[in-house]
């Protein structure tokens, strides 16, 4: 861009400011000012450190500071009276951080621009005031947008919005929050048709998806795409895989072997960010680092379950430059800008190429200097995964998930919100919703079912008409039946349904011999999932908030714990993280294993391991499936290597077990990790296959996703958990709000019971459809399993072995650490109950 166009686009005040800072405006910053000036929605794709946020805000700052503004209370004129720019981010903390960062340019240029945040934490009086006197720029979240759009005052506040900035768009659109956001933006367009959308994103696999997301999709045959500005370049990151002299473990996720090397890295750098995949890993590494922290370096811990106050303290210490290292989970993946980080250490599996790139971007926020990163694989398969991720980062490979299809439960919530604001016409609302890229496939029949669901529950048995929440008037418009419906809606907005959590409170130990009741009112350390606490028996020890704690008891909704004396805690079971291995990296790993030409890049131990596999069994092919069968102690094992991630493997394990049961193989259980699945049986599988009594092609036939899946889903607790989430989002059951727990659990209707009744009596109910869609993409990963079964058809290699193969060792070692599936509840009860009888007879 020439000097001339600079001055045309940038007012003097802004020029002077850039000069004073010793900067010059970057090409993409000017391009964005230009595009927005033309009224075009634009996607900006740039690596971290490229001045993305400033680029997003510059056009708004220029417009607002150059325009007249109506004083509150003065007569209505042509001037704008509401919010000019909405900024929406996936993290509350990010909104607060951005507000702080914008203060400097606004103050230094002396701009008359008011910037405020509005999140769930904003006090009620401030929110009220914002409706009367709106700021120029409002930094907020998708939930707040939905709330604002559900009442008249909020709509008035947003009716003049000119620009919407969507930060970290690639992260926003992959969840139900993205669905809620898309629906909100479609609403916004109805009364602000010229609004311009600005998407800010890191590099993504399919930029066109995001471009389409920013535009109203009015033509069903052709996707409309926004403008796009791409910042290329940026120094290539300096990534290497930690080479340790220690032995790389066969399995496990602790990376303990590499601890000394990690500590050495911390010593050699100014500030290190240590990323892990799960909370329990974070706790463990943090604990272990402090054991060898001979220099007493300030090393801190950060994860989503810690008390908010504690997290803020860590963040403040980081900003103040007081820390040398933070051990963190994905709670720090995004956003907050810490310029001083000069090393990212990623412990464990990267899971996805884009995910890794995002994490590495946290080091060194200047794009012209390379970010430095060290990958620490915790076991041998992870070495392969790290290698595949490293190669992807060299070639710029991306694997951000594809755009999702809008969820029906979120749609139900939105329909109610729309009705709360004003009566609506179903035809108009339908075409408004179809203009969302993520809802353009919605058909009218489904939409009508959703409206019916919101009104009366949508049951085939029409008995609730007289209690309807929405009623259609003689004018053909749908409106809420009474104001209480709107109140109910406001308490229920949002798509994040937390697993039931318990507060962790530190008290003095019961075990210290006192007869008095447990001391009340100790410090709250954070929150922990109910399911985890349910596994504990008083006296069990576990790691939390960087301490070894002893579980005492549960009182109301709090878990009471005390400081433990023990040095070896019972560690929370590794839940594998929410992210399964990406399809892209999985293919990379299969390619690495299948072709020995790639092996020279691998550490010697791993090379030897693969070499042994080639000698003792065979190597899995890139496009096929290797199945090994072998006896071990008194059982017979089947191990296969789909590399499709733990969720798909678990689902496959459930289904194969049922099938093997029918075929008389007497399966006893199975265990899965991201790479492999192992099932053990009482019958001799090798012999069954040899004698033609068991066909692997038939076993892995795609029809397993039919009746078997249906039958299993009927009892699956995963399905029930998914149903609960959908039912809460859709507004069928009310959220548990803090303070309500004391009413007692027997009063709330269990979603499991609702699921059972509904499945039995109306299996095609809209909410069960929503649940099924979720399960297919989420917890059960059925879509990925379907792709796998199609891929391997006719390409199954079977090897009959007389002992475990080198490649099978890691998954077999998971037995005992991972939950083992496949045993029916009743069988366990019977076994436990028989104990009692034996005891009685003794």
């Amino acid at each position: 861009m020439t000097e001339l166009s600079h001055s045309a686009l940038l007012p003097d005040r802004f020029h002077a400011w850039f000069k004073m800072r010793g900067w010059s405006p970057r090409a993409h910053q000017l391009a964005l000012i230009d595009q927005l000036g033309r009224g075009s929605s634009t996607l900006l794709i740039a690596p971290t450190g490229a001045g993305k946020t400033l680029a997003g805000f510059l056009p708004s700052l220029i417009e607002i500071s150059g325009a007249a503004r109506r004083k509150p209370g003065s007569a209505k004129g042509a001037e704008r009276s509401g919010v000019h720019t909405l900024y929406i981010s996936p993290l509350k903390a990010l909104a607060v951080d951005i507000a702080r960062n914008l203060e400097a340019p606004v103050a230094e240029m002396n701009l008359a621009v008011q910037i405020e945040t509005r999140t769930g934490d904003t006090p009620a009086h401030k929110r009220q005031r914002q409706k009367l006197v709106p700021p120029d720029i409002l930094l907020t979240t998708p939930e707040q947008i939905a709330l604002l759009l559900s009442d008249a005052a909020g709509m008035a506040m947003l009716s003049g919005v000119r620009t919407v900035i969507l930060d970290e768009l690639h992260a926003l659109v992959t969840s139900k929050r993205g669905d809620l956001l898309a629906l909100g933006l479609a609403r916004l367009r109805q009364f602000s048709p010229d609004v311009r959308m600005v998407g800010l994103s890191a590099t993504v696999a399919e930029p066109d998806d995001l471009r389409a997301f920013l535009m109203p999709q009015t033509n069903p045959d052709e996707r409309r795409l926004s403008e796009v500005v791409t910042v290329t370049g940026g120094a290539a990151p300096d990534i290497r895989i930690l080479e340790s002299a220690e032995r790389v473990p066969w399995s496990g996720h602790s990376a303990r072997y590499a601890l000394d090397d990690i500590y050495k890295q911390i010593l050699e750098h100014k500030v290190s960010l240590i990323f892990v995949n799960t909370r329990s890993q974070a706790e463990m590494i943090f604990q272990d680092l402090w054991k060898i922290n001979t220099e007493t370096l300030p090393i801190a811990l950060h994860h989503g379950s810690l008390d908010v106050g504690q997290r803020r303290k860590v963040e403040a210490a980081m900003s103040a430059g007081q820390l040398r290292a933070i051990v963190a989970t994905s709670s720090l993946d995004m956003g907050i800008d810490w310029g001083d980080v000069d090393l990212v250490i990623n412990v464990g599996a990267p899971k996805g190429a884009s995910r890794l790139a995002q994490r590495i971007g946290r080091a060194n926020h200047r794009m012209d200097e390379p970010s430095k990163a060290v990958l620490v694989p915790a076991n041998r398969f992870e070495v392969l995964e790290c290698r595949a991720a490293l190669e992807a980062s060299l070639t710029g490979g991306q694997d951000t998930p594809a755009l999702r299809r809008g969820a029906l439960d979120v749609l139900a919530q939105h329909v109610l919100g729309v009705a709360c604001a004003a009566p609506f016409d179903a035809d108009m609302l339908f075409s408004e919703i179809r203009a969302c890229e993520t809802y353009r496939h919605l058909d009218r029949a489904t939409f009508d079912k959703v409206v019916d669901f919101v009104a009366t529950g949508g049951y085939a048995l029409k008995t609730y008409d007289r209690y309807a929440k929405l009623k259609r008037g003689p004018d053909g418009l749908w409106r809420i039946a009474n104001p209480k419906v709107a109140q109910q809606y406001r308490l229920n907005v949002g798509t994040i349904v937390e697993a039931p959590m318990l507060k962790v409170r530190l008290v003095r130990s019961k075990a210290e011999g006192r007869k008095t009741p447990l001391g009340r009112g100790g410090r709250v350390l954070g929150e922990i999932e109910e399911w985890f606490v349910e596994q504990l028996t008083p006296g069990d020890t576990f790691l939390f908030a960087g301490e070894i704690l002893r579980f005492e008891t549960i009182l109301e909704n709090e878990a009471y714990v005390s400081r433990a004396r023990s040095t070896s805690p019972m560690i929370p079971s590794y839940q594998g993280g929410k992210f399964p291995l990406s399809t892209y990296l999985a293919d990379g790993v299969r390619r690495l294993i299948a072709d020995p030409a790639h092996w020279p890049h691998l550490p010697g131990q791993v090379r030897d391991w693969l070499e042994l596999q080639r000698l003792k069994s065979v190597l899995p092919r890139r496009d096929g499936l290797l199945v090994e069968t072998f006896p071990r102690s008194d059982k017979h094992y089947l191990v296969c290597y789909p590399f499709e991630g733990r969720l798909a493997h678990q689902t496959l394990g459930m289904l194969l077990t049922r099938r093997l049961e029918r075929l008389g193989a007497r399966p006893m259980g199975f265990v899965a990790n991201d790479y492999a699945l192992s099932i053990w049986c009482l019958s001799d599988l090798s012999q069954m296959i040899g004698a033609g009594r068991l066909s692997l092609d038939a076993l892995f036939e795609e029809d397993i996703l039919g009746d078997d899946l249906d039958a299993w889903l009927a009892e699956s607790s995963l399905m029930k958990r998914t149903f609960r989430t959908c039912a809460v989002i859709a507004g069928l059951i009310e959220r548990r709000h803090p303070g309500q727990e004391k009413n007692g659990r027997q009063i709330t209707v269990s979603s499991d019971l609702i699921y059972d009744v509904l499945r039995q009596h109306e299996p095609d109910h809209i909410l069960l459809r929503a649940t099924w869609n979720d399960a297919a993409e989420g917890l059960l990963d059925i879509s990925r399993l379907g792709e796998l079964l199609a891929r391997i058809r006719g390409r199954i290699t079977h090897t009959r072995l007389d002992r475990v193969s080198p490649l099978a060792v890691p998954v077999l070692l998971e037995i005992g650490r991972e939950p083992v599936y496949g045993e029916a509840q009743d069988a366990i009860l019977a076994e436990a109950a028989d104990d009692l009888i034996e005891e009685a007879m003794a």
């Binding site: 048995l461 609730y464 349910e534 549960i554 079971s573 027997q746 209707v749 009744v757 436990a832 109950a833």
Partner: protein
């Protein structure tokens, strides 16, 4: 418009019970959650909570309207299996006082056929303190037959032989790192508390404080409901929520 299905299409229930002594007299516990008093040919069932769905719908929470159908279908199977001379419904038979009035006509007719040729006693509960309308059966606050007293809410310090409901007992067992929670009968051989029979009725863990004044600490047993049998546990084997 009926969602009721013919009971004949279901697997038949075997009228086989687990006999225990309560207040010195034998009662049979059945894995469906009912009690069979063979000597008197009497079937006892607790906490049906009929019309719970519509009770919630009145407040704008649209639970599936199939709970009454589901509960009555199961009750029909049990009655079919035992063919009792007398049925005692131990209170909270309807989820609220107007529940019996709201009962849709097909369900009312179905329930009426279940009542044919047998004595039917509605014990009142806290949810349904009044007699059901337009239905057969006698309504009482409590009932003493032989050495048993049938009432909805257990009364601390009651004479041995109290048979009641109200609390929706459930028990939890932990094994192999998993926990299993099921509705159960709870008894210390002086008092018997039945599980809730209704389709949308949750359970309260027997380790909850509410049970502490009814049973001696750890001095009671839970019979958890299973697929085709009961699973007995002494309280010391059970865990709290």
């Amino acid at each position: 418009m009926t969602a009721l299905r013919n009971a004949g299409q279901f697997r038949r229930i075997a009228p086989v019970c687990h006999d225990i002594a309560v207040g010195g007299q034998l009662l049979g516990l059945h894995d469906s959650g009912v009690v069979w008093w063979a000597e008197q040919q009497t079937l006892i069932v607790a906490d049906l909570h009929l019309e719970k769905g519509s009770s919630y719908a009145r407040r704008g929470v649209m639970l599936p309207p199939y709970d009454t159908a589901a509960t009555l279908e199961r009750l029909a199977m049990v009655i079919d299996a035992f063919d009792p001379a007398r049925v005692i419904a131990l209170g909270d038979s309807f989820h609220d006082a107007e529940g019996s009035d709201r009962l849709p006509a097909p369900y009312r007719a179905f329930l009426t056929t279940l009542q044919l040729n047998r004595e039917w006693i509605w014990v009142t509960g806290n949810h349904d303190p009044v007699a059901p309308v337009r239905l057969c059966g006698e309504c009482v606050d409590e009932l003493t037959l032989g050495s048993f007293t049938f009432r909805h809410e257990p009364r601390p310090g009651a004479q041995p032989g109290e048979v009641c409901g109200h609390l929706h007992p459930a028990a939890k067992v932990r094994r192999y790192g998993r926990s299993i929670r099921r509705p159960c009968f709870a008894t210390d051989s002086n008092r018997l508390i039945l599980p809730a029979f209704g389709a949308l009725t949750g359970g309260l863990n027997v380790m909850d404080a509410a049970f502490a004044e009814l049973f001696p600490p750890r001095g009671f047993s839970a019979f958890m409901l299973g697929a085709d049998r009961l699973y007995p546990f002494t309280a010391s084997k059970l865990v709290a929520d």
